[in-house]
């Protein structure tokens, strides 16, 4: 067989594999790690799932900032458990991503070097206790809107991870809202603290649902693979429609003069999002980008000798099953 003939038959073979693959997705069947998949599918999933994992891990930092200052023991325990849940989310997602043939170390390397992205919302500072309420309510709330559709995405390990994650995220959201409620039922100082947190987190939360549709590069392909079921703008509208009445119940004012219920569309119209700010933060120039990356890098670098010790010990003590498993 000549090279040309060989290539042609190779192409036909992968064409038919691709047909089987696409048909499977169309039938709503899951793609599993061992199944054949186009290289682009693999790469796109590695990118999205690892970014999602990084977001969970970096997301621990802004809230971790308040654990030692939580105002009551009950709140301290709840916040600590929440941040721990986010570590768990990171763990499931890194594991899901590893099934696509990338190691956790490689993914960390991409995060630490600044090559990989994570959700920009975590580049904003947490300045008061009310931020713990606002983040749970708005940020976990926006995350749920983003992630519920992923529970039925085409890649099996991602879909299954999302089912577990979404359950916990909705618990986080209720917990955050309850913090806000307590503040809003408290003293004037506490109400002001809650309003100030809403003012600072509202617009970044809207941005969290992604750039507006005409600027989003991945949407069409992602729709086909069920990595996305609604566009960013649709998700954002859903988030706003859901959140405005919740703010009303709290007696807080959404910081948007143009926000108004539209009787014709049945949705809230809202003001212009500052996309310049969004891109500035995405490109690494938000208020805390440097601090967040520094914290991740330091944790990893300071932990190197610990990880090395664990490996060295396991090699010396291959008999010690419990030790090996625990690493």
């Amino acid at each position: 067989m000549s090279n040309v003939e060989k290539n042609t038959s190779q192409n036909e073979k992968s064409k038919s594999l691709e047909d089987i693959f696409e048909a499977k997705i169309a039938r709503d069947e899951k793609i599993e790690p061992k199944d054949w998949m186009p290289e682009k599918y693999r790469k796109t999933h590695i990118r999205q799932i690892s970014q999602h994992a990084h977001s969970e891990i970096v997301g621990m930092l802004p809230e971790g900032n308040w654990i030692s200052r939580a105002p009551s023991l009950r709140r301290k325990v709840a916040l600590l458990a929440k941040v721990q849940d986010e570590a768990g989310h990171g763990l499931y997602l890194y594991s899901a991503c590893e099934t696509l043939g990338i190691s956790r170390e490689e993914m960390y390397e991409q995060l630490h070097s600044g090559k990989a992205k994570y959700s920009s919302i975590f580049n904003y500072p947490t300045l008061t206790w009310a931020d713990m309420g606002a983040i749970g309510w708005l940020v976990d709330g926006a995350a749920i809107i983003n992630q519920v559709p992923l529970c039925s995405t085409s890649f099996g390990p991602y879909a299954r991870a999302m089912v577990r994650v979404c359950k916990e995220e909705s618990f986080h959201q209720r917990q955050g809202y309850e913090i806000m409620m307590t503040l809003c039922n408290g003293t004037q100082e506490q109400k002001d603290m809650a309003q100030d947190a809403l003012n600072r987190w509202w617009w970044p939360s809207l941005m969290m649902l992604g750039p507006t549709d005409d600027e989003s590069i991945h949407t069409e392909q992602s729709m086909k693979w069920k990595l996305k079921r609604k566009t960013n703008d649709e998700l954002r509208q859903q988030f706003i429609d859901q959140t405005v009445p919740q703010a009303d119940i709290l007696g807080l004012k959404i910081p948007d003069e143009d926000l108004k219920y539209n009787n014709d569309t049945g949705h809230y119209d809202f003001g212009k999002i500052d996309w310049d700010e969004f891109w500035q933060v995405v490109k690494g120039h938000g208020p805390c980008n440097k601090e967040r990356l520094k914290a991740r890098n330091e944790a990893w670098d300071n932990g190197a000798w610990v990880r090395d010790a664990a490996v060295a010990y396991a090699e010396k003590h291959t008999d010690d099953e419990s030790i090996r498993k625990a690493i």
């Binding site: 621990m60 654990i67 030692s68 721990q84 570590a87 763990l91 913090i179 307590t182 408290g186």
Partner: protein
């Protein structure tokens, strides 16, 4: 034995859990691996859970209208009776593990005795906590072995941590006046009775980890009398920040 004696005794046990939990929670998100991060957060969560059980009971015993948070957040430094060991800083992972192991073994032995307290509330808290602390002790002990018998660097670091923190172990067995009264009444534990077994256990594990047991004979003390290290003021100023900046509010 007065109510006051018993309340002070409960504070001194719970303060150890509270301050160590506070130290561990500073680490959340900064651990050497995600798995250790999650495990150490679990330990912190257990310790805070125990703290709450003790303080809720102490609040019940009190004549004043107190909550667990009043006890946790609104005392002056001199009224915290935790041992100096638990307030030591998170210098590096070796110090964190050694501090934990030194405390866990003591904590385990203490709770095993406290299970036999004549006081049902303390009995119950001890029973529940003992299961948790058995896990803490396994976690810190396993890591001590890994670090001791891991690499040259880990061996050196953990030996240094052992040498530095050793001086805080003796205080674990000190008894202040309240401790003695409550122990005599059969409600509390005579800590001095735990000492021989404690040093036996930790010495064995240190040797098993290919490390050396320090021959230091001078020890530090004070926490049990409310005289702390310089670290304590900073721990409290962070922990009490909200309660002091915004007094008399519900959170």
């Amino acid at each position: 034995m007065t109510n006051e004696n018993l309340i002070h005794y409960i504070h001194s046990i719970a303060d150890n859990s509270l301050i160590l939990g506070q130290r561990l929670s500073e680490l959340c998100g900064h651990g050497p691996t995600l798995e250790t991060d999650i495990a150490m957060t679990n330990i912190a969560l257990d310790l805070f859970g125990q703290t709450r059980s003790y303080f809720q009971y102490a609040a019940e015993l009190s004549n004043e209208d107190l909550t667990e948070d009043d006890i946790a957040f609104l005392r002056k430094e001199r009224d915290y009776k935790n041992v100096l060991l638990v307030e030591q800083p998170n210098t590096d992972f070796a110090y964190i593990i050694v501090r934990q192991y030194f405390f866990d073994v003591y904590h385990y032995l203490l709770l095993k005795q406290l299970e036999n307290s004549k006081n049902v509330n303390l009995q119950n808290i001890a029973k529940k906590s003992l299961k948790e602390v058995a896990y803490h002790r396994r976690f810190s002990g396993d890591w001590l072995k890994r670090l001791g018998d891991g690499t040259e660097e880990s061996h050196e670091r953990v030996q240094k941590a052992i040498n530095d923190l050793w001086v805080y172990t003796d205080e674990l067995f000190h008894m202040n006046e309240d401790d003695k009264i409550v122990a005599n009444a059969g409600f509390g534990v005579d800590n001095s009775s735990l000492k021989d077994e404690y040093y036996q256990i930790i010495s064995d594990l240190i040797k098993q980890a290919t490390l050396e047991v320090p021959e230091i004979q001078y020890f530090q003390k004070g926490g049990k009398k409310g005289i702390h290290t310089e670290h304590m003021g900073y721990i409290l100023s962070e922990m009490q920040y909200m309660q002091l900046a915004y007094p008399n509010m519900k959170w």
